[in-house]
Symmetry: D2
Amino acid sequence: MSGDLPPAPDVVRSSYAELVVTDLARARWFWVEVLGLHAESDRDGVLCLRGTDELTHHNVVLREGPAAALSHLAYRVRTPADVDRAEAHFAALGCPTRRIPAGSGTPGVGDAVRVIDPLGFPVEFYYAIERGERLIQRYDLHRGAAIARLDHFNIVVPDIDAAYGHYRGLGFGCSETIEDEHEMYAAWMYRKQTVHDVAFTGGAGPRLHHLGLATHESHQVLHIADILGSLHAENHIERGPGRHGVSNAFYVYLRDPDGHRIEVYTSDYYTGDPDHETFRWDVNDDRRRDYWGNAVIESWYKEATPVLDLDGRIAPIEESRIDESAIRVGADGLGSPREVR
Amino acid sequence: MSGDLPPAPDVVRSSYAELVVTDLARARWFWVEVLGLHAESDRDGVLCLRGTDELTHHNVVLREGPAAALSHLAYRVRTPADVDRAEAHFAALGCPTRRIPAGSGTPGVGDAVRVIDPLGFPVEFYYAIERGERLIQRYDLHRGAAIARLDHFNIVVPDIDAAYGHYRGLGFGCSETIEDEHEMYAAWMYRKQTVHDVAFTGGAGPRLHHLGLATHESHQVLHIADILGSLHAENHIERGPGRHGVSNAFYVYLRDPDGHRIEVYTSDYYTGDPDHETFRWDVNDDRRRDYWGNAVIESWYKEATPVLDLDGRIAPIEESRIDESAIRVGADGLGSPREVR
Amino acid sequence: MSGDLPPAPDVVRSSYAELVVTDLARARWFWVEVLGLHAESDRDGVLCLRGTDELTHHNVVLREGPAAALSHLAYRVRTPADVDRAEAHFAALGCPTRRIPAGSGTPGVGDAVRVIDPLGFPVEFYYAIERGERLIQRYDLHRGAAIARLDHFNIVVPDIDAAYGHYRGLGFGCSETIEDEHEMYAAWMYRKQTVHDVAFTGGAGPRLHHLGLATHESHQVLHIADILGSLHAENHIERGPGRHGVSNAFYVYLRDPDGHRIEVYTSDYYTGDPDHETFRWDVNDDRRRDYWGNAVIESWYKEATPVLDLDGRIAPIEESRIDESAIRVGADGLGSPREVR
Amino acid sequence: MSGDLPPAPDVVRSSYAELVVTDLARARWFWVEVLGLHAESDRDGVLCLRGTDELTHHNVVLREGPAAALSHLAYRVRTPADVDRAEAHFAALGCPTRRIPAGSGTPGVGDAVRVIDPLGFPVEFYYAIERGERLIQRYDLHRGAAIARLDHFNIVVPDIDAAYGHYRGLGFGCSETIEDEHEMYAAWMYRKQTVHDVAFTGGAGPRLHHLGLATHESHQVLHIADILGSLHAENHIERGPGRHGVSNAFYVYLRDPDGHRIEVYTSDYYTGDPDHETFRWDVNDDRRRDYWGNAVIESWYKEATPVLDLDGRIAPIEESRIDESAIRVGADGLGSPREVR
């Protein structure tokens, strides 16, 4: 059937996300003063942020609104024509679509189309975006976690197979999975030459699990945790710092004042070779979620951000059939003493 | 009454510990091949180890025996006469003492005295020790955690006040404590100009909680955790990596094949000024044990290494009156979702 | 005229280089024991090496021979058909070409074509290569500089414009240049989404300036310099560690026992967006070659590795018209005291 | 003869230095905004600064004046009585001395004595000093190089043997030297348990060579160099970053707007054992000044800060008999190509 579909757009990468926050002043404190993102523009209740390696206008947008939510995920496409292709492709899939002319949507973004994808997520495709001043070597501006760029979206979906199939249809490769002989529990998929642009966590959805923000070195991940301790704001640290088994990233998970989850991480690997193979983790390997075998806190599996539909209403959430967090072996048995072999 | 005591010896620092291990081959795998300590001598069932900054013969000694235990802690004293002072001082305290002539005790150590101190611990005092070849700049020998030196002993005692008083009598300063208005839960005490040479954790004792081994930078702490993941030996990681509130050290706690606990850590601070003040943590501050508010695994509070008496028998253990691990606020409530303020 | 050419092959990335070394035992000491590359195969006088993030058979090959030289650079192409395209494309350019059937060339490589490109360099194009065991998370194997992967080739060419034009014709983007109003002194060009796969240094050529090997963090760059100091082999350190202005990489330049130059570096930036712009450095900006303004040692500009032709003979070398090293402002004035503003 | 001298004061450590700067606004920009020291007080043309690990009022003081100079070095002593001992000791040595009552000298410092020591340097001894708020875990305040504390003074003296003898008389130990069979070229001496509180560089003196400021990790040393590049203020970087052979410190040398030299460094080693031996470097070992064999820039050997006498006049400078910088072997031959063995 997909043979009859109009061609999918040529996606370059995950490029920004727009979040609704309930108190922009508190959000600004967290994202700018503490986390240290660069504020590219800040007016009319919309704050556009970016890391120092990012050359476009923003990679995180915060918009003040009545309830914490994901407004939309955004993928940059290769050419202006790919915006049209995205519209036709998703329309043919039976998805709601809406054109967003330049100047009427997110600041700095040119002509775009927004869709509710088959997984229920609001997703924007665009080609044109304003450039930002080059900050790549502005070490004097480093604050907080010294964020370099947005790396990926992690989304919560009830049906991992459906999510995998949808993104394969968009031309994404698959770098890693968590599986057993019956189920796929999670998958990491990419267009750019890193481990992922998008990953799926099994659970009630559609919800946004986290935004992955890349920094250059592990000491920068430690530093943001230390800063939060200094501010007695350690409750914003949810999990880590730690090393992922999947992706090999060194990570810390933070929660912003609205509970939006951010992964600050460093160090994954190149995936650009044409025959790059999927690496499959056994769900029973303690190291899949933390390479050091440390337990994953329950909230990390269970809590996430709801998403909006194209009219700005919170989308309904469907329960999940599978629950990776129930598979607790070794360290994942929270609080149980670790046996030394 | 202490005015009538013979003077205490002038202790320079915590300088080595001798542990009994049940399988020297497995211990050698862990301490030398994985952790990367330098083997200075290895014969007759006794393995003498040191870090690259250590200029004396050893700072950890492993002796094969029937049951995992602490053989003795050792403090270096300032002069040969201080060995005699130690003997007289502890004898006057009513403690068992035993002279260990050079060549009859731990390899490389000169004339020494061993005592069972008032807290029930086997402790050696010595001045003379063989030198080791200078390895301070032998970066080519760095393996595992790139251990530089022994930093401290952490001991489990049922009566924190008694431990504090005893070490004050030996001339130790106190850098930090954990307290509330009624109790002292833990204390960190020093002779050399770091945060501690010895610290006390409240619990059933006398038992050895851990040996603290110093490395130079935080990436070296992360590296030993990563190596253990690589070897699928992540069960040897008990807690961390993390940042301590107390002492500000960046740490990871490992358990050796016999369950002996090792802290690999970096970064504390100078305490050598004459009016250095004790810093007092409130036991209700989540950050005291982990500055990022991460939970402390139960085994870390409860498990420890028994100690030997002067005749090599396991010493009896007395229960503790207080239990810091029962004070669980915020993150210390294991597995409870973290509230974001 | 290029409109009449058969299409260029779709190059994926710079993927390996084969060097001739005069003493394989000494080369093995340097590349494996000191630098810490993983030896994937070692037989018949050919040593195949790779970094831990590399999933193919090798990214550096050392072949014993009578004189130190570059045997060939190799680019991986996207499909088997691109090998044929490479042959036709270079033949149409009037370049010598030679098919290398699988099994007859470098170990592990499938069908390939080798050419002498218009710049005089021996270059191989191939699609198929044996896989290597996944070592991405084998932290226990980290030695020396903990090399992750090959990143780029830097070649010395007398005519920068010609080199730039040739690689534009192969579809390479240009991330950075060094220029003044009259001349381009150097350029950095890429196919994969990093700052470069190949860069050009102006000088007598064709010669190989260096191979760029990527590691994950700056402490790993420092560590290989420290190791060389420990071994009293500091003469193998030619320049750095330092921070490049161009590319923002943190680097050290080493010379192997035959004088082949290696850059161990970390930290560049993503270049995959479709409108990625070239960043142009003024040749008079002291920071272009070292962001800290440190002088560049003369040998770094002047010395390089000769290249072989398809029959294994040293290729003749043409003098350069321009000399960037003659432009010495500020710190580049070797030994002149730095003025403090 | 020294047997007849009144006893020397018990020096605890090098604790602060007061510098005269010609433009306090520009100095504030450099030391506070760029280097990131904490401004404890700033009034009446005197700026008191400290690192985050320092618990006393300051460890660097900048006082505006007509010409760049060292006002005085300051050592903290163990008891108030040691201030009197210092006065008597130096008076007996025939040195000018002057009592500085609390409140009349440097802000925050209690009763003190200042002397012109036998080497011609203005030196203060004091016991009492105001405490500063504890900033040890204020990671949110880290800026620039994240300076933790003052570590040492490095002074230029024409007669190394005289300097060595003087500080031996004050009870300092000697950790390292640079020597050949005829001469001592440099020495590192300590009271606290680090490599040094004071070091001597041979040259025209008395002059201050540099203040050594300690940071915790090597990435913080790199970061201040990167920041200076970002600000196009790379001319403030004089030498490094690099690894010292002597002391094993990882360093960078900066020059402030008046040319005062600062070493930002990390990582030396414990020297507190009673039989700590002096480590002697051969002046012909290239690694003594830079463990990687990199050349030392001429200005580093030749330029330094003049000192004031007790009346605030610039002290006369005596030429040196020896010149370590003339001994250039290997890398020290600036610009000469490095031979690869």
